[in-house]
Symmetry: C2
Subunit: 476 residues, 2 copies
Amino acid sequence: MAKEKQVAQITAMEDDFAQWYTDVCTKAELVDYSGVKGLFILRPYGYALWENIMNVLDAKFKATGHENVSMPLLIPESLLQREKDHVEGFAPECAWVTMGGSEELDERLCVRPTSETLFCDHWSHVLQSWRDLPMKYNQWCSVLRWEKTTRPFLRGREFLWQEGHTLHATEAEAREETLQQLEIYADVLENYLAMPVIRGNKTEKEKFAGAVETYTVECMMHDHKALQSGTSHYFGTGFAEAFGITFQNKENQAAYPHQTSWGMSTRVIGGLIMTHGDDRGLVVPPRIAPIQVIVLPIAAHKPGVTEAAEAIVERLKAAGIRAKGDFSDNSAGWKYAQYEMKGVPLRVEIGPKDLEKGQFVAARRDNGEKAFLPLDELESAVAKLLDDVHDGLYRKAKENLESHTWAVTSVAEAKEKAADGFVKAMWCGDLACELRMKEEAGVSSRCIPYKQERVSDVCVCCGKPAKHMVYWGVAY
Amino acid sequence: MAKEKQVAQITAMEDDFAQWYTDVCTKAELVDYSGVKGLFILRPYGYALWENIMNVLDAKFKATGHENVSMPLLIPESLLQREKDHVEGFAPECAWVTMGGSEELDERLCVRPTSETLFCDHWSHVLQSWRDLPMKYNQWCSVLRWEKTTRPFLRGREFLWQEGHTLHATEAEAREETLQQLEIYADVLENYLAMPVIRGNKTEKEKFAGAVETYTVECMMHDHKALQSGTSHYFGTGFAEAFGITFQNKENQAAYPHQTSWGMSTRVIGGLIMTHGDDRGLVVPPRIAPIQVIVLPIAAHKPGVTEAAEAIVERLKAAGIRAKGDFSDNSAGWKYAQYEMKGVPLRVEIGPKDLEKGQFVAARRDNGEKAFLPLDELESAVAKLLDDVHDGLYRKAKENLESHTWAVTSVAEAKEKAADGFVKAMWCGDLACELRMKEEAGVSSRCIPYKQERVSDVCVCCGKPAKHMVYWGVAY
């Protein structure tokens, strides 16, 4: 037998949250660093997390009538420049292909940072009549944005995402689509990733380059910073006009279609790490966990134990639960620590005494609670415990959000409170006040939430009549 | 009501096979051309085909213990150069990123043409012990190869594929993996795409850059040319040595692992078009068809017809069959032509007379056969018909392959017969004779098939004793 594997050690959250985060990313075997700064490798466990999130999203996109497509990786510079605001937003962080084989290209090609321009170019070829609308497309791919500072999942020069792009005959229908897709993101974050969200509009300053309106779902991390976790944009007819996309409407007239786009990325994996993780490592929300239940035989050499553990794995799998047994000769201590590091929501153990009593042991990753449960209720008991873990994670995250959100009425107060959470403050709607909040209180506007409250009658900055209540915070 | 939609026209196969092919690609709405030569857009119907192929492959990869990962898009030039044969094979067709934002990069980065070097770099970080082996990874992604001439699916500067990469402790295990994965490709081609294959080894000349051995599945197209449809490579320890990948074996010694890679791409969509298509358009093999059954109401305004057609769609869907109803006000003629163009394997119709008789009409896309079948046997009858279509397509393709394969014993005969199919000819194993076959008979070696036949005792070229029987042909 080779020497025993070592349990990986990680930095404590309290000591250095950023270091804790990168420790979890690597020690839980989610990512590896590649030879290019900001381009990360998603290892099997990290990719399986993303696969499960993709499967949930993809099913919801298809159920709402969207179709997947594949657009090219490269955008000619002239195409990117077609929409003025858009190119200003993205050109500074484009990676450029300038050579093909040994030849210099006539026109340099940008590796897509997002694909609005590609979809628009395609639509300008194929859209003809109102009968072709709506066109509701989605694409799963990676995009490149040449960022200065990078961190696994949170900010990469390459990241994986989905980008939805749709065209509609009317503004009302496009706006409805924009909101509907934001609700899908909120649903997936809350009901699969156990991350409570704040839904709202972005301010003019924080909108997507080229959008008329950007909607967002914002989440609070364990360190009380904000993570923008999904956005949905209504474009009006701006891109259609820039790209010459028209259709013949029911009245036989040429009209511009109304456009949307919406995206969610591997960033949400960073989000779930910083929402649920603890000093023992990752805690994965059960509904997207690659391994929902790890099954360990205790005193595996005793008669019947291994067979019983194998039977448990098979029964759970047959019940549609993602269960795995670890029958290796690694020590029990190593196994405990390893699956805790990987954040497996539930550990099931069975040993000789349990066999005698017809029971199994279930230990929750989120709160460490252990229960002795009858073997003949295995499937239903485990399914219930997985739901309990989800609910427990969601509740804890919701408490964190609520207990670290403060209504404030002055910039000084905003600065003080923002060090430890979100602040809710009234705003007149002027860019100058938004910039002052950034400069003096160190916060950006996260969103104008759907659920408005009247914290005061006047803007937190200038004292003029307030238009909106805004969430402000320090963002990743 | 707007004016009736026009039925798309395509070139006849006999008149111009290449034009027929591109007509099918565009008129069946599989692809659109982008602004960059050789980078194609996969439209919803084309991508859905690929999605279904992906789903079949992915399930088989997972069932054989493979895990998906995501490697970076970009490869530093120095990393690509680490393995000598590999860089020679790929560097001439790399697309190079030389700028990030407004800055020139210190080292240029190649957009991955294939990812061996990235997997090796990662493995050199993470592999430690025999306990970590095998590592059996797969990646779904797009790759770039800056080709001179391009055609949808068959040869793109960008194409979608999967690339499997595995590491093993022993040569025997790695070789077994290589062959097992080739069998998965053969299985998917024959049993899902209805494309009969010839399995074999590539010659030294035709091997993948850096491989010890390359296995291939070769298919014959309708025009009797060859399409290499999937390859699987055994690398030995060459890459491991070049990248310094070692593990501690059971005897506590450092050892090099044995490596494989294997890939299948969107090329097979080109293959199925050219295998099964006809002058009315695409013919999609049922098991990967995005729409397996199109349901059309006949005289939809008559009482009960639309409801009956809707009920048929729902019953088929409930039986796990991908059915779609077309209840639009387009004419029956347009609908017939449209779904024939798109190659939907089965058309189901129901009209007032059928309702009276408790029957439905089923029309096969492959041979035009129509049947009147009892409504209460809908699900089983349709499932059987879909299998019949699959079998019919496979049989026809097999007949094409067999009736256009000739055993030849001279270069002149090879040249004559190769104009119209594959030739089987003996080979001494020398590169010179392989090159002469290319130059004089215009054929490349497709493979040294598993199933050897003794066409003669001597090499078709030089008359020296023969080592192998080889399939030769004109390849896409």
